[in-house]
Amino acid sequence: MQLSYQHIKPFLNTRQNTASRWMGYFGLGLGVILLLVSVQLYININVLLKDKNPRKDGYDYISVTKLISNENMAEAHSFSDAEIEEIKTKSFIQDATPLLANTFLVKASGSSAIPFTTDLFLESIDNRFLDTIPENFSWKQGQAIVPIIISADYLELYNTVFAPSKDLPQFSEKSISAVLIQLECYAPDGTAKIFKASVVGLSNRINSVLVPESFLTWANKTLGSNTNINPSRIFIKTTDANNSELLNFLQQKNYNINKDKTKFGRVKQLLQAIVSGLSGFGVLIILLAMLLFSFYLQLMIARSKDNLQLLLTLGYSPNWLSKTVAKRWVPVYTAIVLTALILAAIFQWAFQQFFLNNRSDLSPYLHWMVIIIAAVLLLLSIFINYRLVKKLLLKL
C-alpha cells in the first residue's frame, strides 16, 4: 500500500486552532480577490482612457514651455541645448524641435481693406512638425513676399470678435490668402526692411504666427540683436500624450504643457494610483493571511512535535513528510484562488455589462494577466507552505 497523508494524519494535531486556520483561508481569499480585481481595474482604466482622438499620423504634437511661477519669474525660461537633447533622448518622446522666435522688432499693418497696425511676433519651426505645408511656404533671400501660417484659432478670433467690433471684413480660410499684409522689420539701429506677407495656410497644431525657417534665420542674422538666443518653446512628438512616464517627466522638470491634451492622462494617473494602492492593500492582506496561516502551521507542528519526532526516528524522511503534510493544503489553496478568480471574473462581467452598459471597447472577460497572477499566487502559496513545513520539521 502506498503511504499517504491519510496514514500520518492521526499523528498530526490538526483539529486545534481551527478559528485561526479559517481566518487564514478567509484572509487569503479576500486578499487574492482584491489583488485580482484591482489588476483588472488597472487594465480597464488603461483601455477605457486611451486617447481615441483621430490623429493624422498616430502622434500627438505638444508645445512645451517652462512653467512661469511667482518664484521663478525673474529667471530665464528658455531651453538650453542640453535640455533639448535630454528631451530628445526620452523613449516616450519620438521627436522634438525648438520654435525659433524673432529677435528683432516686427510691425504688421493691413492694406486699405483691413486698416490696422500692430506689433507682431514671428516664429518658425522645422517643416516636419507642421500639420499642413502649403506649396508656397518657402522663402529665399530677395523674395518680396513672405508666406505666413497662422493658427486657425487666430482667424476664428479675428472673424468672430475682432472684425465685427471694428467693422472690418470677415475672411474665409481661402480668401484670407488674398490679403497682403505689410511686415516692417527693424534692426536695433532703427533701419527697417519692409516685406509683404500673405497667409498661405492655417495650422490646427501650432498656436503661433509661423514664417519659413529660412526667412527667420536670415532676418535674425541680419536684423537681430542676438543670434544665439535660446528657444523658449519646444514642440514634442509623442505617440501618447497621456503616457504617465511623459507626464511624470514633464512634472518633475517643471515643464508646462497644454493641459487639454493630457487631461485623460491626469485622470488616468489618479485612478491608476488609487487602484495601485488597492492592489498594494490586497498584497498586504495576503501577507497577513499567510502569516496567520504560518502561525497555525507552527502551532500544529509544535503540538504534534512528539509524534513527528517519533516518525522521523522510525525512519520517515523529512522530505516526504513535509511534502505530504504540505500537499494537504494544495486543494484548499486551489479552491481559494479559483473562487477568487471566479468572483473577479463575475465582477469584470458585471462591470462591463451594467456599469458600462456593455461597451464594446472593454472585454467582459478577465485579462490573461489576471489569470497568470492568480496562477502565480497559487504556486507561490503552495511553495511557501511547503518550505515552511519543511523548515519546521527539520528543526525538530
Partner: protein, 213 residues
C-alpha cells in the same frame, strides 16, 4: 555492510574512567551476520551507544562508520533511508505513540518499509501473547506489553542490523525466551546481525561475541 567503531567515546566520559571497556575508546567491528552481546552495568553508557549507532545523537568523539561513511556525515534524508532499509531498533524508552492503537503503532512502521505481509502482525502478536491487545490504545498497555509491541514493530522492516537496548527488562522469563526466539528467527531470515545490550548476560541469546562496555 559493516559497522566499525573507531575509538568512540561520549563527550561526557573521561577516557581514564573507561580504560577497562571493550567498546569505549577501542576499535570495534560489527560484521554483517554476526551477533554481538554488549554487557553493560547501569551508567556505563549503553543507551548512549545505541543512540550513537542509530544516529540519534552525535555527542561523541571518534568515528562510527557504516562501510566507509561516518554517521556524522549522514544528513536527515540519508538517516531516514538507513533506518528504513539497514538498521532497526528497540529503544530502551520504547517510543510508542500512546494515543494510537497497538496495531496502528506496528502498522505505521510496516507501511514505511515492508518486509512481511500484513497478517504477520497478528501472527507475531499472537506468538508474544498480545494478540488481544491489538485494538487497544498503546498508552493503556502495561510496560511489558509495550516492550513486546516495540519488538514486533522493529521486526516489520528489512534490516541488516537490529539494535536492542534492554528489550526484555519488564518481561518474565517465559516471555523473554519467546521474544528472543522470534527476534533470532527474524534476524536469520534477513541474514542480519543483532547487537543486544543488557545489564547482564542473556543465556538464550546466541551471540558470536560478548563485549563488556
Amino acid at each position: 555492510m559493516q559497522i566499525s567503531l573507531q575509538k568512540i567515546l561520549p563527550v561526557f566520559f573521561n577516557a581514564a574512567d573507561v580504560s577497562h571497556s571493550q567498546v569505549w575508546n577501542q576499535p570495534v567491528v560489527f560484521d554483517e551476520g554476526a551477533n554481538t552481546h554488549i554487557i553493560a552495568p547501569s551508567g556505563s553508557g549503553k543507551t548512549s551507544l545505541m543512540h550513537f549507532l542509530y544516529g540519534l545523537r552525535n555527542d561523541f568523539t571518534g568515528e562510527i562508520k557504516y562501510d566507509d561513511t561516518s554517521i556524522k556525515d549522514f544528513d536527515k534524508e540519508k538517516k531516514a533511508t538507513l533506518r528504513q532499509q539497514t538498521i532497526s531498533i528497540v529503544l530502551q524508552d520504547l517510543r510508542l505513540f500512546p494515543d494510537q492503537t497497538v496495531y496502528e503503532n506496528i502498522a505505521i512502521k510496516r507501511l514505511l518499509s515492508t518486509f512481511h505481509p500484513v497478517d504477520k502482525i497478528a501472527a507475531m502478536a499472537s506468538r508474544l501473547g498480545i494478540q488481544n491487545k491489538l485494538q487497544q490504545l498503546c498508552g493503556t498497555c502495561s510496560y511489558g506489553e509495550q516492550q513486546r509491541i516495540a519488538i514486533i514493530r522493529a521486526l516489520q522492516q528489512p534490516f541488516k542490523y537490529l539494535l536492542l537496548d534492554e528489550p526484555f527488562s519488564n518481561l518474565d522469563e517465559a516471555n523473554r525466551e519467546k521474544a528472543m526466539e522470534l527476534i533470532q528467527e527474524e534476524a536469520s531470515a534477513r541474514k542480519a546481525s543483532i547487537i543486544l545490550a543488557d545489564l547482564k548476560k542473556i543465556d538464550y541469546f546466541n551471540a558470536g561475541s560478548i563485549l563488556n562496555l
